[in-house]
């Protein structure tokens, strides 16, 4: 019974959202507002379950973890944002999260976004027994990365052989990349659409297996 009611409710809200394709209407607006409330309410419940309860409340109740009162007090300072005379106190927790987050993130970004990418871009064009399409691919990968970087380098005018030709090749590579990404995204969205249609025609109406 639970499942049947659930499928009917799910089907109702699926159709409510699709009704927007015709025009905005009260049923769509209701679904849109409900999803905001439910998702934030769900996040609150889960945050309490996985963060506040095991990391703060339980250790404090068990005693001996009084140091955890510092992050709790810092966190509570966020709420001063609602009282304009002391709203500046909310900068303290923001400063802590921002500063430490930036510090932790710096070496990690350097590693993942810069060093690893540079390392992966430095590959030999040819190795024994490599098929021609891989050799061509490696050439495109190495020179294409360089050309696309030149295109994004705006400190020099895109003129001459290195910057001019480089940036022109770069934009071709970027367009190929954007086209491929777009095609990939379209396929992802279409498969989601197929999933919803399967839900309506299969789970709900039992018209398809």
């Amino acid at each position: 019974m639970y499942e049947i009611i659930g499928i009917w409710v799910g089907a109702f809200f699926t159709l409510a959202i699709y009704s927007f394709l015709y025009k905005e209407n009260p049923v769509y607006r209701l679904a849109e507002h409900l999803v905001v409330g439910i998702s934030l309410g769900y996040t609150m419940a889960i945050t309490y379950d996985v963060v506040l309860k095991p990391r703060l409340i339980e250790p404090l109740l068990a005693g001996g973890s009084w140091i955890l009162l510092i992050p709790a007090l810092l966190g509570l300072l966020y709420i001063t944002r609602f009282i304009s005379s002391i709203a500046w106190l909310s900068r303290y927790p923001i400063a802590f999260v921002l500063g430490t987050g930036m510090g932790v993130g710096f070496p990690l970004t350097m590693k993942s976004n810069v060093l690893r990418q540079l390392e992966a871009a430095m590959i030999p064009f040819y190795q024994e027994g490599m098929p021609w399409h891989m050799v061509l691919g490696n050439v495109v990968l190495v020179l294409g990365t360089l050309a696309a970087l030149i295109y994004f380098f705006f400190s020099k005018p895109h003129k001459g052989f290195f910057f001019g030709t480089g940036s022109r090749i770069g934009i071709w590579i970027i367009m190929l990349g954007f086209g491929a990404t777009f095609g990939f995204t379209v396929m992802g969205r279409i498969s989601l659409l197929i999933g919803r249609i399967q839900y309506l025609l299969g789970d709900w109406l039992h018209l398809i297996e």
Binding site: F106, G177, A180
Partner: protein, 214 residues
């Protein structure tokens, strides 16, 4: 107190966390462990700020009977009902302990279908965007069009029917030119993040202070 102390906290915290990465000592590890246990607690309190803000906006709309104020109830009721149903009053649908709760029902049968449908609806908008973007008006637009069409057809059975090698071309585009473009973008983004990190840590970028109490 209002500006200097927060800027100092950012600078000291940022430098400390940056340095601890390069010094694998028990003290630096202890600093990092404290950060790992403190940061989620502080971040969890930020949720209260978000919930409070949303409540204020919608309560204001209801009080003033602003346009479409009735829908604000559709935000506020589930917003507070969900935590209550999860922790204070976890009612099951049939009264039995093994039955799924109303909390579970609301999430699985309202939240999940609505979100999946919203994302799937993008298929329609992406199609209309494609119609505008894919008009082969120039050589570059043609390249964009060809790459997208080859990748799309290469992923479905019809691509295999066109020619056995057709899906391979789609895969080659994804693996090489696409990766080259992505890598260049990722490098650019990486340098941007690093520059922004340093600007915030050393107090050059101060927009995050906002206008609260000046």
């Amino acid at each position: 107190m209002k500006r200097t102390v927060p800027l100092m906290i950012v600078m000291v915290g940022g430098i400390l966390m940056m340095v601890q990465y390069f010094i694998p000592h028990q003290y630096s590890q202890a600093v990092f462990d404290s950060y790992v246990s403190w940061a989620p607690i502080i971040a969890a309190f930020a949720l209260i700020l978000g919930v409070g803000s949303l409540t204020r906006v919608h309560a204001h709309k209801i009080r003033r009977k602003a346009e479409n104020w009735q829908y604000s109830w559709a935000v506020l009721i589930p917003l507070y009902a969900m935590p209550v149903l999860a922790h204070i009053w976890p009612v099951s649908l049939s009264g039995g302990m093994d039955e799924p709760s109303i909390f579970h029902f609301l999430f699985m049968h309202i939240q999940v279908p609505i979100q999946a449908t919203m994302f799937s609806m993008l298929a329609f908008y992406i199609a209309s965007a494609a119609f505008r973007a894919f008009r082969a008006k120039s050589a570059l637009a043609t390249v964009l069009l060809l790459a997208a069409v080859i990748v799309m057809l290469g992923q479905v059975p019809i691509g295999d029917l066109i020619a056995k090698w057709f899906p391979q071309i789609g895969l080659w585009i994804l693996r090489y030119p696409n990766l080259a473009a992505k890598r260049a973008i990722m490098l650019g983004v990486g340098f941007g993040i690093l520059a922004t990190n340093l600007k915030i840590i050393f107090g050059v970028e101060r927009n995050w202070l906002g206008g609260a109490g000046k």
